[in-house]
């Protein structure tokens, strides 16, 4: 047996705590809140859980954020593969993260409730879980109708009723995190931009703040404003997209067309600001985007007013259309208890009435910029609530962009262009960056060694939500509701598979 280690911090890097497995497990499980109650989530959040291979030996690594202080801690424990015990039985949020670690190392943790290959779907066939009279398995994917990302779903149905559904992801696993090891900080920015191509700003902002923390550098206020503005603009086009897809799934063709137009307008705003429709190269560590804010203020505010008016017009029509609302009520319901149990984030958690948003904890200054958490007043956790949360978040983001661009436009250029004094070759350390992306909390954990990336861990919002997607789909729904449920979650495959 391994000698029990006392809780010690790395002498060179106090932010990384080396623990023995029992203490590590206790720390991680403390972040789950109370799974039995649907009360408020605890002060602690699990931001990242994965494997860190250091000098050939694997370690479990977890990052836990404190929502009261906005600080994040990093814990690690040597992974003794013979005695690795699963924690997923106690906290289902760890079901998929543990399987990812298992696939990377080729060892399963003892007592995992649902062991199967996750990262390599080509090595695994999902088995139908419902048997008996009338039970019928219905496979869907990985190539589906229309233009979608690749993913596979196995439905177990009786008649039209969905009894059980298992999603199979990771068809697009590109091993992005391992690709980063040994590369320069700037080269990894290019990878961060392409974890989820429609969440470029959020992923690069999380990555940049992790790298900057690792290098002991604090982004100045205008830089934080600028990144937040890009992230809010990204939220706008993603929410317009998701609401549009929902309208389409419910047969609202006029609304769908108009919302795709809103999305295109937002993409063109992004391109006019940065040259890139998807805000590529807009965010990178230690650097401002080459945007002349005083110059863009006028047209940006005008363009914003136009897209906002169009979205509001069609959303208010949707809300008054009974055939639309009826399709959403009670569809794909997420039970309140699942939120702490699976560590749900983003609009999915807020639709259940939980006041959870990374901007509250990790960017509290956004309160001055007009940020407030959008929680669904009905708190039913169904497709309607997810829709209403997105609509409210759209409004908040528009307000925030107005405030941010005004601030940025009035900052003197000398303040904005002061280059940071960072000697990249000397830089070393660990950092954690957490932001609220369009689908929820995104966290990056980074280790910088002499200006190069030694470790990179990424948890995107969707990766916390996917495990309940199957549960919500089989929560009293019929097959024809699937497009509505799918669109109402609006989850990312690329961000999860990465």
């Amino acid at each position: 047996m391994r000698v029990m280690q006392r809780e010690t911090s790395d002498p060179l890097d106090p932010s990384l705590l080396h623990l023995d497995f029992a203490t590590f497990a206790r720390r991680v499980l403390a972040a789950r809140g109370n799974p039995a109650s649907a009360g408020p989530a605890s002060d602690e959040q699990l931001l990242f859980f994965g494997v860190w291979e250091s000098e050939g030996t694997p370690n479990l690594m977890a990052s836990i954020g404190n929502t009261a202080t906005g600080q994040s801690s990093l814990y690690t424990t040597p992974l003794d593969v013979r005695s690795w015990r699963s924690l997923a039985g106690e906290w289902p949020a760890l079901l998929w993260p543990e399987l990812e670690v298992a696939d990377r190392l080729g060892v399963l943790p003892a007592g995992h409730p649902d062991p199967h290959p996750l990262l390599h779907p080509e090595r695994h066939t999902l088995q139908s879980r419902v048997t008996g009279a009338g039970a019928f398995p219905l496979p869907l994917g990985p190539v589906r109708a229309d233009v979608t990302e690749s993913g596979f779903f196995l439905f177990d149905t009786i008649g039209e009723q969905i009894m059980h559904m298992q999603p199979q992801l990771y068809y697009k696993h590109r091993d992005v995190e391992r690709l980063a090891v040994g590369r320069s900080m700037d080269d990894v920015t290019l990878l961060a931009e392409r974890i989820s191509g429609v969440t470029t700003a959020a992923h690069t902002a999380a990555y940049a703040s992790a790298v900057e923390q690792a290098c002991g550098w604090m982004a100045p206020e205008p830089l934080r404003y600028e990144r937040q503005l890009f992230m809010e603009l990204e939220r706008l086009y993603n929410h317009a997209h998701d609401i549009g897809q929902l309208a389409s799934a419910a047969g609202m063709t006029v609304a769908h067309a108009q919302l795709t137009r809103v999305k295109e307008d937002c993409l063109r705003m992004a391109a006019r600001l940065t040259g890139s429709r998807y805000l590529r190269t807009a965010v990178s560590p230690f650097r401002f985007a080459p945007v002349d804010w005083p110059d863009v203020r006028t047209w940006l505010l005008e363009a914003l007013a136009r897209v906002d008016a169009r979205l509001q017009q069609f959303v208010s029509l949707l809300r008054r259309t009974p055939t639309f609302v009826d399709r959403l009520v009670g569809t794909g319901t997420v039970e309140r208890t699942w939120v702490p149990a699976y560590g749900l984030v983003g609009p999915t958690a807020r639709a259940c009435g939980f006041r959870t948003d990374a901007r509250l904890a990790y960017a509290p200054w956004t309160a001055h910029a007009g940020f407030s958490v959008a929680v669904a007043p009905r708190a039913q956790g169904d497709a309607l609530d997810r829709f209403l949360v997105r609509v409210e978040e759209w409004r908040v983001s528009v307000d925030m962009i107005r405030w941010l661009v005004s601030q940025l436009a009035s900052t003197r250029p000398t303040d904005r262009w002061t280059p940071p004094e960072v000697n990249a070759d000397e830089a070393r350390g660990w950092g954690v960056g957490t932001v609220e992306g369009p689908r929820g909390r995104i966290s990056h954990v980074v280790c910088v060694e002499r200006g190069r990336i030694g470790f990179w861990g990424v948890r995107s919002a969707s990766s916390w939500i996917w495990p309940v997607f199957g549960l919500a789909t089989a929560n009293g729904n019929i097959q024809t509701d699937f497009p509505v449920m799918d669109a109402s979650f609006g989850l990312s495959y690329a961000g999860t598979d990465r």
Partner: protein, 265 residues
């Protein structure tokens, strides 16, 4: 309610692009979108720096006469070469609709004469749209930006239905397979099965640097290889991601090719 919807829909006005009509100019400054870099405007005289090393995907190559060139199939549009070059030999391409006939030899990609192909495409436009074009899209490992741009084709700005192009759910009804993403082991068999299910003549449009070259994922152990190592590719659409105009151009090129295949055997 229905009347409200009709009024709102009709009242919202028309925004559809004239592309690819010759009168297409610039819409909302789209000509300024960063697509791929273009080199070779003039020879580079500063031999001291090494821009080929700056490029993260190895897209920059020097011809013997010191003309640096950018392989459009590999350029992810990061802008590093443009920012770094003291001689200013690189610039953003002013083409927002780059798409061309595919040849496997990399040298041809940089030297290909796009204008010539454009003329051919324009000449064929009339005959091409006697029949509609049915497209099956497949994502073999993308970051999802390509899908977002493919989806944009059906928004009111690009509205590709006006050109007789449609997405189809079944590969059995598809003329064209539109492929996006860096091919992963898990998608390899799925891709081949989808391709095999298509009726002949069948055309493949590879859209985005990931499918053509691998882009930033080229070094990944999970990257199988450029698409043409697995299925034949007819048209390539550069960009990371390609603009909707470029994807549209790629589909039009495919339509042109199909017409040729249909008439000449």
């Amino acid at each position: 309610m229905l009347a409200n919807w009709l009024r709102a829909g009709v009242g919202s006005g028309r925004v559809t692009t004239r592309y690819p009509h010759p009168t297409f100019r610039d819409e909302d400054g789209c000509r300024a979108w960063h697509t791929v870099a273009a080199g070779g405007a003039r020879p580079c005289l500063a031999a001291a720096c090494d821009c080929a090393q700056i490029c993260p995907t190895g897209a920059i190559r020097f011809r013997t006469d010191l003309l640096p060139e950018v392989d459009a199939a590999a350029c992810i549009g990061c802008g590093r070469c443009i920012e770094a070059c003291p001689e200013g030999v690189f610039a953003w391409s002013d083409r927002i609709d780059q798409a061309m006939r595919y040849t496997a030899r990399a040298e041809d990609v940089a030297q290909r004469d796009w204008d010539e192909l454009d003329a051919a495409a324009a000449g064929h436009l009339q005959s091409v749209f006697r029949r509609s074009l049915h497209v099956r899209h497949i994502d073999v490992g993308s970051c999802n930006a390509c899908e977002s741009e493919v989806l944009a084709l059906s928004n009111p700005y690009y509205n590709f239905h006006r050109l007789g192009i449609f997405f189809t759910a079944s590969p059995r009804h598809a003329d064209v397979l539109l492929v996006t993403g860096a091919l992963t082991p898990a998608m390899r068999e799925v891709l081949v099965a989808t391709y095999e299910a298509m009726p002949r003549p069948r055309l493949v449009v590879a859209a985005g640097v990931c499918s053509l070259h691998g882009g930033v994922f080229r070094e990944s152990a999970q990257f199988v290889g450029p698409l043409d190592q697995v299925i034949p590719v007819d048209v390539m659409v550069p960009g990371c991601p390609p603009t909707p105009y470029a994807i549209l151009r790629g589909l039009l090129e495919a339509a042109t090719r199909r017409e040729k295949v249909a008439t000449h055997g």
